[in-house]
Amino acid sequence: MWEARVKKALAVMIQHNLVKFEASERNNNIAEYSIIHHNVYCLLRYPKYLYMIKRIYGTSEEILLEILLNLGQASASNVIFQSANRLKEANDDSEISDPSALHQSFLKLAQDNFIIRCPKLADNASMQKVPTLVVEEKEKFTVPHLEIGPIAKLLKENATQLGEHSDSEVIWRVNHERFDVELRNVILVNAAARRVDSTAGELYHLILKLWRECSNPDSPTTNALSFNVIKDAVRKNEGSSPVLLEHFEQYLRVLYEDTSSLITKVGDAGGGQFILNYSIVFENLACATLDSIVLERFGSKALRLFRLTRIQKFMEQDQMQNIAMIPAKEAKMFTYKLLEHNFLQIKELKKGTSNFAPVKSFILFHVDLPQQVARTALEASYKGLFNAMVRQMHDLTDNKRLLDKHARLETLLESLRGEGLPEDELAYLSDSMTAAEKSLVARIHSMNDHLTLGQTQADDTILILESYLKFSSMT
């Protein structure tokens, strides 16, 4: 009995791209299953994906993506069909939206690589116990020809299932890597906007797009863009604000002279050659994140010590308290606190040569950014995220009965109100739950929201630190 459930669970996870399988080497008829860790983690980021798509494109693309996330893997026609149904529901069954508009949206998403084709079944797959799936490099983003006519017809008939269709063998899924790149870009654009102002953010967004078109996404630096190319792009872009058009040279200059290295100038040809060096930018971002962590946890004096040590690389205790201008006792206390929490490391250099006298040694403090500090902070973020999830689950399961009762009551009230029941009868019904219960439910809901927000924002920190570690290990 358990066996059947395990099989079902595996099937569901494979469908949602969380688990993959391949034929075992020893015996082709047995499949070996493995978890795709990154995709499981990215389950948390689905709302962010939807928000980004909504901002970049619009509602119909957002609905397409949502349907695809719900289904895991699906063919294009199925996604379009279900999205049209969902739009119909949202508009209260009034109008039937045109599936060809959704088709265009689907094409846009595929063009920008946000969705990707799954590997297709090899030709002899139906004979095999463990089907082999073949990746086709060139066709990863090409949408096959779809027949919109049958879809439109089924929509008119209020069908719930699509049935057979011509492209049922071409299956699509969400492209997590592309979304990760996009999330990183959002962080950079927001950094530019915070550092300078929102017009600079706009300019940076444009430049990022140009870089993406001309460079390899996996390399730690982008290819160089010349000033003239940027100028053309800014002029051609319809969405540019007039401020940007007028002052874009100054904005560019401000950005590349800024210490955050959002843009690095590497040469003068063509009016200036600009690249983005991911490792430096993310190091700066990670440092900023860690600085704010130290600040919030230990105070501004500790922050001064931390930054000093980071910039000066190796320092002695006495030096630290002199340069930072902090009284000795406090300096010592903060130093040891930072040491305890792994923000500072100790390096001992022995000085003594004689075997009789006690050995004197230099004790130097330094900040080991990539290995110790960033990883500790990352671990702490993961733990915080996990704690928030556990607590949320605990709250929901403990109060499940109460929440269910409340939900049932609400739906009942809504449906009765829709049928036109008078208000006093509704009030009578809603009194079946006491005020204390209702306030408890409200408290649970607000705690739930709080925890979800906390998880989302912890994820932001995790993204910065992970990207930093990834790029620093590349160089």
Binding site: E3, A4, Q15, P47, N70, K129, P131, P358
Partner: protein, 217 residues
């Protein structure tokens, strides 16, 4: 090594000043128990950011969670299945909207097995066909739920296993798989009742529907 420990701490290798304590100052008390599980926070953490983006994310997250939970992808735990079976039709089973033709065949067998269709033991050679007449209820349910017939192919079951259904009354099941046979032997081929030896797996299982009929002594 001279003067080892002679006199109180005369020849210690470090200087108490180096540790940061002036002469005569008290040494901090040594720790005698593990740190508390929930230590009090010294500084209150910053409040969460609540702007338009995060509001939207909150709403979307709740929406996605509800949809997932209500979809047929959500597999119920044993207790929930019991509840559903008590309230609804006991033989009610929702179809999983999974793309079966892209999965290993071993995962697909679960559906047929669940409905309790018996697979008779196979002899170790050639092809065999066992025609069965299951109850009409099972037949109807299985017809609704086996989705993979075109993926499995219509080959003659030479060395592979196929599951074909021709009509409501006639079921043709061909099994020839040696690995599967080994599995089957373990469960059904012996003289002893299969659950006489309790391996303790179902110890905390609260599912009362487990078949315990055979091993009553």
């Amino acid at each position: 090594m001279a003067g080892r420990g002679r006199g109180r701490g005369q020849n210690v290798s470090f200087n108490i000043e180096q540790l940061g304590f002036g002469r005569g100052e008290a040494v901090p008390v040594s720790v005698t128990q593990p740190p508390p599980l929930f230590p009090t926070l010294e500084n209150r953490p910053l409040p969460l950011i609540k702007d338009v983006e995060y509001e939207y994310i909150l709403v979307t997250q709740k929406d996605l969670n509800t949809r997932m939970r209500n979809s047929s992808f959500h597999l119920n735990t044993a207790i929930e299945i019991q509840e559903i079976q008590q309230i609804h039709n006991p033989s009610y089973e929702k179809e999983l909207p999974v793309l079966w033709n892209r999965m290993p065949t071993e995962l697909k067998k679960s559906i047929a097995k669940k409905l309790g269709i018996e697979k008779l033991k196979t002899v170790k050679s050639g092809k065999k066909k066992k025609i069965e007449d299951p109850d009409k209820i099972f037949a109807k349910l299985e017809k609704k739920e086996i989705v993979e017939s075109e993926g499995e192919g219509m080959c003659d079951g030479k060395e592979d296993e196929d599951e074909k259904e021709k009509s409501d009354d006639e079921k043709v099941e061909v099994e020839d798989d040696i690995e599967e046979e080994i599995d089957e032997e373990m469960d059904e081929g012996t003289d002893y009742a299969s659950n006489y030896f309790d391996n303790g797996e179902g110890y905390l299982d609260e599912d009362d529907n487990l078949d315990e009929g055979e091993a009553q002594f």
